[in-house]
Amino acid sequence: MSEPLRFRGGGFVIGPKPISSCLGGLAVIAIWQAVSSAGWVSPIFLPSPAGIARALGEMALSGQLWRHLGASLQRILLGFALGSAAGLALGLALGLLSHARAAGLPIVSALFPIPKIALLPLFILWFGIGEPSKVATIALGVFFPMAIATYSGVDQVPRTLIRMAQSFDVPTHAIVAKVILPGALPGILAGVRISASIALILVVAAEMIGAEFGIGAFILTAGNLMRTEDLLAGVCLLSILGLAVGFLVSLAERRLLSWR
């Protein structure tokens, strides 16, 4: 007696579902709005999405948004540029030079876990309450993950590629530029992604300790005045900023790492 073979290989395959991913977010916002509109939760404790959007719109119209966003972005960009450049240089040294690795790796490993915001009071003492102490906190926070990501990126470049370049008498500086750096790029970009998130956390924390402008300062002031709509508008800005950074890094990965 013949019978059709039973298919038993279904399931356990995760595929993209764009409609579900849009609906998920919209559903959360819709439920939130419904709860707020029904008056089940006081707007002081949980403002409605519409209220937050209104607060954001008002911020944009009054120019406050750009002033705070501009101040935060300036600190992030400067701190990130300084910290990541230094981290990249140290990571390369740790990856390429035996003495640098032997001497530097224990120090980096010891300093990396320190929450850098704990050093802000010290930086304020060194650099004053103004911009340099905030930029230094961000730079230091970015420096260690960049150094470690670059170091492990360099370490993961297949040795056979380096030997290949040596076998063709390629000069050392060209091996670094044309084999090691491109080979370490996946690791370096992973470091950029982590460092950018750390920079975002640190800028908010630093601005909450002592700043007139900046998203962190705005959120702190709104909290002190119980203006929770403004507070969550600031939080939304941070979320948008985080998404934008993630998008830019993904874009860079797609363009620079298309060979993978």
Binding site: T160, R163, S167, F168, D169, V170, A174, K178, W259
Partner: protein
């Protein structure tokens, strides 16, 4: 160009890998090096290529570098060693980048070797888009682009399936017959060695010493399985003996 190996020994710390290797690779011959796993074949090739420094002994080259040769001693790698972010043409061109060639001459050389290896239509492809056999063709093309005087091949076909290996042996032989470049061919595959080599150097178990260097007298066109069966049997016994002894020592 000849390659002369004089009393070369090598070790990693207390681990002796090669012991007193002396041999000469004659101009225009393929010398195959075979032996049990871990006998130091690849280490020997690394030393011949100047990528490893021998603990003792020395390597000499004898004879003028042919005109136009940009890298007299050139390596072909087991795992192809292609830069994954470069196209086929750029991988081949990488070997030429650091030499004083104008762009026209460089492109000419790249196109020439891509045509020789049947890769011209794949010049813009990335390594990830190619099969293993095609990737090794790129490795061969890159080596030919610098017009080597001595080719060092480190198990170039061992990462490939049997069919691709067969195809590449034929293609490599055709290319080699056109240029007759001196070559050292490290392999663990006895049949590859018998098909390609003028002489076969059998290394002992670690630390690798020369057990025997055997000439393969039959012309390459007449190297059928039957013709080489007695030689194959003799070489296989040598390798088997060494591999079994190595296994016993390992236990």
């Amino acid at each position: 160009m000849r390659l002369i190996v004089e009393h070369v020994s090598h070790g990693y710390g207390s681990l002796e890998v090669l012991d007193d290797i002396s041999l000469t690779v004659e101009e225009g011959e393929i010398l195959a090096v075979i032996g049990p796993s871990g006998c130091g074949k690849s280490t020997l090739l690394g030393i011949l290529g100047g990528l490893l420094e021998a603990s003792r002994g020395r390597i000499l080259t004898d004879g003028a570098v042919p005109s136009g040769s940009l890298n007299p001693i050139t390596y072909i790698f087991q795992d192809f060693a292609l830069l994954p972010w470069h196209s086929v043409a750029a991988n081949v061109g990488f070997a030429l980048e650091h030499h004083r060639l104008d762009a026209y001459e460089r492109k000419g050389r790249v196109d020439e070797v891509l045509a020789m290896t049947g890769l011209l239509d794949f010049a813009t492809a990335l390594p990830k888009q190619l099969s293993g056999g095609m990737r090794q063709r790129v490795g061969i093309a890159r080596a030919l682009a610098v017009k080597p005087a001595i080719l060092l091949l480190d198990e170039p076909l061992s990462a490939l399936d049997a069919q691709t290996r067969e195809l590449l042996i034929e293609e490599f032989l055709a290319l080699w017959l056109a240029h007759r470049t001196t070559a050292v061919y490290v392999t663990h595959n006895l049949d590859e060695a018998l098909r390609l080599a003028d002489r076969i150097c059998v290394l002992s178990r670690r630390p690798g010493r020369i057990r025997e260097i055997v000439a393969v007298d039959a012309a390459r066109s007449e190297r059928g399985m039957a013709a080489l069966a007695p030689l194959r049997e003799r070489l296989w016994r040598l390798i088997q003996e060494e591999a079994r002894a190595a296994d016993r020592e390992h236990v």
